[in-house]
């Protein structure tokens, strides 16, 4: 079983590495979106510090969502997805493998790049640390929830934007507690643990339900 899981993860990582850009694009998208705001909003320090958590999380939502479109699309159009459905392996394991690879390629880079954003928006070091931790717990949830949407919209015209309609509303709790944690960290003496426990609870729930729903979605879409 673990063998299969590793095979899928390695396959998707190899595929991404073949197109070197793939790895960096999500990260750059994130950076560009985050950098656009000061251009539109103005560059006062106080405002920036105030809107930073919201901007970072909305940008992370969008970046993760944009990349999701590709999660199953290319496998679908070249027929390898239907071959996967026909392998004698539990589909949920294959799905989890693909989601993990996806997160390594799109979620993890956001976590690593977060300090840069912290600098741009004049965040304190603690706030930046909190932001990284929140992203580390939150982005896998984004990938997991998003996978359901990606499976359901597979092969549909206008898939990208349709996908965003389906899943952006579902991302809201992550957005609220993710940015809430960062915002709270700016207030001395505030209690952060509740935020992180909630995010972790979401992650757990997503880990359990999302592969099932995604697998069901894939079976429906491939038909």
């Amino acid at each position: 079983m673990f063998n299969i899981f590793r095979c899928i993860v390695m396959r998707d990582l190899t595929l991404a590495m073949r197109r070197k850009t793939d790895v960096l694009t999500t990260m750059f998208f994130f950076i560009i979106v985050v950098s656009l705001f000061p251009l539109g909003v103005g560059t006062e320090k106080e405002t920036l510090r105030h809107i930073a958590p919201g901007v970072v999380w909305v940008a992370a939502l969008l970046a993760s969502m944009l990349a999701l479109e590709r999660l199953f699309a290319s496998d679908y159009s070249d027929g390898t997805l239907e071959q996967m459905l026909l392998t004698p392996q539990p589909l949920t394991v294959l799905v989890l493998g693909k989601v993990l690879a996806h997160w390594l390629l799109t979620g993890l880079p956001l976590v690593l790049i977060a300090p840069l954003v912290g600098l741009q928006y004049h965040l304190s070091i603690e706030s930046t640390g909190v932001m990284m931790l929140a992203l580390l717990i939150g982005t896998p949830v984004l990938s997991l929830i998003g996978a359901i949407g990606a499976a359901l919209t597979l092969g549909l015209r206008g898939g990208g934007i349709l996908l965003s309609l389906l899943i952006l509303p579902l991302y809201i709790p992550i957005l609220i507690y993710g940015s809430g944690a960062v915002a709270a960290s700016a207030i001395p003496g505030s209690e952060l643990q509740a935020y992180f426990s909630l995010l972790a609870a979401f992650l757990l729930m997503a880990l359990i339900f999302s592969p099932l729903a995604t697998a069901a979605g894939l079976r429906i879409s491939v038909e």
């Binding site: 063998n3 299969i4 095979c7 899928i8 396959r11 190899t14 595929l15 073949r18 197109r19 290319s74 496998d75 070249d78 027929g79 390898t80 239907e82 071959q83 996967m84 459905l85 026909l86 392998t87 004698p88 392996q89 539990p90 294959l94 491939v222 038909e223």
Partner: protein
Amino acid sequence: MLEIVDLACIRGDRRLFSGLNFSLMPGSLLYIKGHNGSGKTTLLRTICGLFLAEDGEIRWNDKNVRSLCEDYNKEVLYLGHHNGIKYDLTGYENLQISATLDGDDVDEDKILYALAKMGLAGFEDLPTQVLSQGQKRRVALARLLINSSKLWILDEPFTALDVAAVDLLQSVIAEHVANGGMVILTTHQEVALTAGQVQTLQLGD
């Protein structure tokens, strides 16, 4: 043994066929005929479980395939209109991954041998993207040589292949049947294989 009992399929709002019955013994080949749009692809996808029939049952060794799930998948190999290979990976990598997923334990030599036999010696390490239409099809067909499934379901396997490759594929299929395998195939091309003594099923009129 594969048995199809009273199968009915609907696509959109057209009833393609209903009350379809047949069975397939080990060591035999079923050739499905029919004009364009008669429902051949739909039937094949239904048999391998990608499409949900409206009615009826598919039985493998007397058990409904829906209850067998992954055990049935192990016995079936399907090749459809799509090649089912990743264009960014090389032929070698493609075969290796599909072998792992199929749960077959194959070594490097076997894969290289399969590719060479399909006339792709020298192309093993190119991303399949840069291969021609027919060469891509050959990579997909090389799976037949390393797979251990009993039942092969082939939807127009001869498209895009040149004469030499068509002959080769025919001999591969014949050999599988001779070894007790089962094959279901469709094709619009006249090939020697389907002219012989094989079961045929006519869809449509």
